[in-house]
Symmetry: C2
Subunit: 127 residues, 2 copies
Amino acid sequence: MQVSTPLASAFRDGDFTAGCPTRTVLDHVMSRWAPLLLAALSDGDALRWSELRRRAEGVSEKMLAQTLRQLEDDGLVLREARPVVPPHVEYSLTPLGRELADHLVPLLGWVADHAGEMLARGPARGA
Amino acid sequence: MQVSTPLASAFRDGDFTAGCPTRTVLDHVMSRWAPLLLAALSDGDALRWSELRRRAEGVSEKMLAQTLRQLEDDGLVLREARPVVPPHVEYSLTPLGRELADHLVPLLGWVADHAGEMLARGPARGA
């Protein structure tokens, strides 16, 4: 008999099992570039493509497009065309995206504060 | 002239730029399986390999080994061999890993609470 149990007591039975919506969304928001893009937008300013590309240093055009489309489809990021000359597109967080960023930015802050010591300690085991 | 600016105002200049230790550690902790493994260990119990594999449903033996070794090298997970018959190995969070889990579990909780509605809304734009 297959018995399903929650990943941890903080979660419900079935959360984050393979194929579950929770797993799908987790994969989206923890993808390589999504955290950096959400963090870049967390200040509240609408940013243009070129600025997002600069902040998520190293991202390719293709991955930036793919990640932004995913975040847009998930309702986290709003894409707006500005009717100016020349026309351009701006990206900002939706209220839902802002909620997520409120959880994500402290996590990234923790990583920023501890990354140096973590890498300096070297492998836990001998080579 | 190349001007470096922080990803967002919450971070320092240079944080999360390509090749920076912060980016390296972020990639580790946001890798496909690390969040699930850290969450599984967040209850405080030491877990065996087979139990971790069950909780991170869908993980391969290879990726489980690779992710656990990375988390161990980063000082987030402790690997202990139990001198029992038959011998076995247990994994638990270090104090540093617990700090990280304290940020990660609420984030996963938010995802668990919102994943259904996020996927139900469908693509933001027409096909």
